[in-house]
Amino acid sequence: MLQHYGPQLVNLLAAVMLLLAFAMLAQRRIMSLINLFAAQGFTLFLSTILVASLTGQAHLYGSALLTLALKVLALPWILHRLIRRLNVKWDVETLLNIPTTMLFGIVLVILAFNLASPLSLLAGTVTKSTLGIALACVLLSFLMMITRSKAVPQVIGFLAMENGLFFAATGAVYGMPMVIEFGIALDVLVAMLILGIFFFQIRERFDSLDTRHLERLKDQ
């Protein structure tokens, strides 16, 4: 049963990942953005568990648990705490032209699929068809970082990019070796803590977390 429907279920979860990436691109409220990020992490967790049980790769269970602990629990919790302490909980960003951004996003998805198609032909995994979606998630998060002007959404874009990369690793090679995944997770966690400190410093100086204040340094 699982062997039969498993690969299709993986594809379904991949589609959910992509959908969530688009949702984040268009979301204006910071609170909802964090929830979407957590949901994407949870989808990644589910799909990793599924791939693990389909292929019997034991270390993927570890990777899935790491995703659950870090991307679904720790990071959203830290983000929630941060925005409560910074008092930006109800911040709404004025996003320029959501439809245009979405169209750009679609172009990026097509680009990602083109880039991934020769790669997925070479992959021997049951998940190879998700490689294109993983690359698309990376590019969409990248687009999100470019289009946002506030610090917190930019960071969420950065973290979502990491989600896409983990998804790519699962799709192409059933995950990186465990040591490396731990190392990456540690880096992401430390980055988040440093950013937390950094947010307070920016706020202390500018009374706002708008990174448009941070565009003064230019070459004369």
Binding site: L122, M176, I180, D187
Partner: protein
């Protein structure tokens, strides 16, 4: 694991932990210097071992040392030590001026050591995944250092640094995943497939299509950290706004280490592909960096910013040399890496004292250094002369070699290089000259400047220009042979 190797990595790590606790004490700067000196001693011992016994690996092949990385280990540890010596009086003055708090000093000392650790880890690890993790950690340790003064400009610089390098390094992770994707087909899943020595032995059998895509991502990723144009935007800001010792190690060491990572992947890519794909990319990015940086140099008003652009120019030159390839060009690239690292950190030391005396980084407000402080003035003049590639300094030797190789292998590139070097000569010399000579505008400092590091570096650069000891030349030749 051999004792030297263990000490090399444990000393900065222990230093980072210890100074996190006591880094604000009056004697912390000495402790910092002591840890860096220990690290350098370990590096020197490691060099003797490699020269005597040849390359070796350690700890289940997770670490390895060959002439290429041991030379960078020695350079990193050496500049790390001299910068710690320089930062002792420098940071004390900053503390007295009230620009840094006690907590800031603790952060500074602790992160300085941790940063050294991450760079040495990038250099000595055999595992390309760990290399990525350590490189990201190197960014993270320096982000808060760039923001140490908490001014508007420094916060902005640090934010840019974090976001741009974070995005860049994410591309490098994708590249690393793709390399693993290619190698796990041949070497099997698990850590073994990420070991560089393993990959090197099977590089001819790797899937060329995957490796070429991977190299593009790696070039964009690590290239951001090298400061290659057009990925260089973070570099001038981070160099200009951080404390000067941090500018010195960022410019003199971190850029080298990032380029080292790129070279390791270039070797694999060259082996997997039968066409000079990686070389062409490196030549293109290198040349673009040299040309664009030269054009930007004359527009700078901030002295540290100007020398940051000069770093972009020189990293471009080195990348270009590795792109050309062959024993002579790679030799010249490695030599130029050493020369740039020593000269540029010496310049930053001198500039650091000069800006402290003048109380500003704007070149127009720094005048007549040589009157009030002849040693700082001479240090800056000689450093500038050296970095501009005038004989008899070593930079002349390496630039000359790169130029002759460019004429031999890619004649079309030679005019671009020559023109860029000419433009940057005019720009830098024209701006430094009035800073050093002319009417004095600078004040005396309560502390004696630490100029020993400046002259030690310049003396080494001079030595390389006049006479290269045969065993050093042999060592460079071995390292160049590894790059191909």
């Amino acid at each position: 694991m051999p004792a030297e190797m263990l000490l090399l990595l444990v000393s900065p790590l222990a230093g980072g932990l210890a100074l996190a606790l006591v880094g604000h004490r009056p004697r912390a700067a000495e402790v910092n210097a002591a840890f860096s000196t220990t690290t350098f001693a370990a590096a020197a011992a490691l060099v003797t071992r490699v020269v005597a016994d040849g390359p070796f690996d350690a700890f289940h092949r997770q670490f390895f040392v060959d002439p290429l990385n041991v030379f960078l280990v020695a350079l990193t540890a050496f500049v790390g030590m001299t910068t710690a010596l320089f930062s002792r009086p420098y940071m004390r003055v900053e503390r007295q001026h009230g620009r840094v708090s006690d907590g800031g000093m603790r952060l500074y000392h602790s992160m300085y050591q941790t940063f050294t650790f991450t760079m040495l880890l990038v250099l000595t690890t055999n595992n390309l995944g760990i290399m990525w993790v350590a490189m990201e950690a190197a960014t993270l340790t320096t982000v808060l250092l760039v923001a140490l003064y908490r001014t508007h400009a420094s916060l902005e610089a640090a934010w840019k640094y974090f976001i741009l390098c974070g995005v860049g390094i994410a591309q490098a992770l994708l590249g690393t995943i793709l390399v693993y994707f290619a190698s796990e087909k041949i070497l099997g899943a698990g850590t073994g497939a990420l070991l560089w020595t393993q990959l090197d032995s099977v590089k001819g059998r790797l899937e060329p299509g995957i490796i070429s895509i991977a190299f593009v991502f790696l070039l964009v990723g690590y290239g951001t950290k090298v400061g290659l144009v057009p990925l260089h935007n973070w570099l001038p800001d981070a160099h200009a706004e951080g404390p000067t010792p941090v500018s010195a190690v960022l410019s003199g060491l971190l850029l080298n280490v990032a380029l080292y990572a790129l070279i390791r992947f270039k070797v694999i890519t060259d082996g997997a592909l039968d066409r000079p794909f990686a070389s062409h990319l490196l030549i293109g990015f290198g040349l673009l960096s040299v040309a664009v940086a030269a054009l930007f140099l004359s527009r700078q008003r901030d002295v540290k910013r100007m020398f940051a652009y000069s770093s972009i120019e020189h990293m471009g030159l080195i990348t270009f040399a590795f792109g050309l390839g062959g024993p002579v060009a790679s030799f010249a690239g490695l030599l130029h890496m050493t020369m740039h690292s020593l000269t540029k950190s010496a310049i930053f030391f001198a500039v650091g004292h000069a800006t402290q005396k003048a109380g500003t980084q704007f070149m127009a407000d720094i005048r007549g250094l040589i009157r009030l402080s002849p040693t700082v003035g001479w240090g800056l003049t000689l450093g500038t002369v050296a970095i501009l590639g005038l004989p008899p300094f070593g930079v002349f030797a390496s630039e000359f070699l790169i130029l002759t190789q460019a004429i031999a292998q890619a004649p079309w590139a030679a005019p671009i290089l020559l023109a860029s070097l000419g433009i940057s000569f005019a720009a830098i010399f024209g701006k430094v000259q009035p800073m050093v000579f002319g009417e004095a505008s600078v004040a005396r400092l309560p502390h004696r400047p630490a100029l020993l590091p400046v002259f030690a570096h310049l003396l080494l650069v001079l030595m390389f220009g006049l006479y290269m000891p045969p065993y050093l030349a042999g060592w460079y030749r071995q390292a160049a042979a590894l790059i191909g």
